[in-house]
Assembly symmetry: C2
Homo-oligomer: 268 residues x 2
């Protein structure tokens, strides 16, 4: 089964895809828009995209794309982000002088660089791409920082594991498909809606859930692309396709300008 | 007046600081936590921090720090993000083969690199830092991408201006100080609160604003650091220190577990 991801093979999205669809083959795309294109064209069976990280927050571009494109979330998955120092086989940790990775990953491993001041952090495009780089060029004094999947994809060796400063580092991923499909145990719904810019408008919209004792697990406002000062709200509710949820969405349709169900899926 | 920023001198935060406090001197810090340390220690008069970008979303780390630290937002400012190609003086655009910048900036200038395929994008730590790098090393075939402030700080020349793909690219900045202080025309309040994880709890909390016709301009939920499954809500309301706002905050104190006013300031 072909799964599109943004970034290089071996990225955390690849690791998440392996958990969600064991044995899948990865189609690596440079841009997120291309990932959605592949899903909509049907050239892949699905895509796996990060939607929020517990430290860095939401991936705004992916929220925007979920609203703009005809795709449907079928599953979610929470991956613990473990950063590892990965080098070419045979390299010893004490030989390392430079470690490449994406600036966000370098920033999440500051304690490591404080502890080993002889090792210089060097920014690179991508976590997995940094491992690919040092191994393909057979660099002897350099390593990359990435998830363990990158070591297995590029034949590298983990010379130090779990170097992230904060262990409460999780990323939530979605599996998205072209066709609407709801799994049997689906008990969570992601949706987007917009309301007129009037006092109490959001409150009225949220009443459709509160009046039915439906819990929210996330809410976020985002400016609408190309329409400054208009906002769209992204909300997750802890309900699947039951009658109360259907009634709430029908009611939301009465009070909101736009309502889009982004997906209905089992809570991770 | 000394203003702390995260990143190198010449960064967009520097540009925003110049607009907010003309003639200020910049104290550049590598980490955001250090920026807040400087404000709390009183070694700077204030700090200027980005809080959200219209394309990339909120800066989650800064929301978390505003909640955790004893600081107060005194002003907000919206800066239009214009990316420029900046090189050492005398360099012609057609000589360029490599352009350095932060991966987020490179990603926001994809059309430029598609149009000039001979120029290779090279990831760097920082936008302004990339300009510092090419000018201090006097690189003849390289440039950086940064805001115009970087050109004036490092003595570079803008060889191509405004190369960002999407012109609706704005970043909202806060000026934060140690002491609570509310300017005369303050008509906006940023606050954080948490409620028990029960159905309708957020709805009840938002009722304190809706019942008083107070508009929200932003809402966002974030997991609380170190307490998975507990959420804090960041909300901006379009009111300053009037009686209705005071009543609403008092009422919010009755229904929320934690309420913190992050600042009261004039809307940009």
């Amino acid at each position: 089964m072909k799964i599109a991801i943004q970034g290089e093979a071996g990225a955390f999205s690849h690791e998440a895809a392996q958990h969600m669809v064991p044995g899948c083959s990865i189609v690596a795309c440079a841009r997120s828009a291309a990932v959605f294109d592949q899903v909509q064209r049907g050239s892949v069976a699905a895509a796996v995209i990060p939607i929020e990280n517990s430290l860095a927050g939401s991936v705004a571009e992916h929220l925007d794309l979920l609203l703009a494109r005809q795709v449907f979330i079928q599953r979610e998955f929470r991956l613990r982000i473990r950063h590892n120092v990965i080098a070419a086989p045979g390299i010893k940790f004490k030989e390392l002088r430079r470690v490449f990775s994406h600036p966000v990953a370098l920033d999440q491993c500051r304690d490591f660089f404080d502890r080993f001041p002889k090792i210089e952090p060097v920014p690179f495009y991508d976590t997995a791409g940094s491992v690919k780089h040092v191994i393909q060029r057979n660099l002897r004094d350099s390593a990359g920082i990435a998830g363990r999947q990158a070591a297995s994809v590029y034949g590298g060796k983990i010379v130090k594991a779990g170097i992230e400063d904060d262990k409460a580092n999780f990323t939530r991923f979605f599996l998205i498909r072209k066709k609407r499909g709801v799994l049997g145990k689906a008990n969570k719904t992601s949706l987007a809606f917009s309301v007129k810019n009037l006092p109490g408008a959001l409150f009225k919209a949220l009443s459709v859930f509160a009046l039915r004792d439906i819990s929210l697990s996330k809410i976020e406002s985002r400016p609408m692309r190309g329409r400054p000062w208009e906002y769209v709200f992204y909300v997750d509710i802890l309900r699947g396709e039951d009658q109360a949820a259907r009634n709430a969405l029908h009611h939301l349709g009465e009070v909101a300008d736009l309502v889009k169900v982004l997906g209905i899926y089992p809570a991770a």
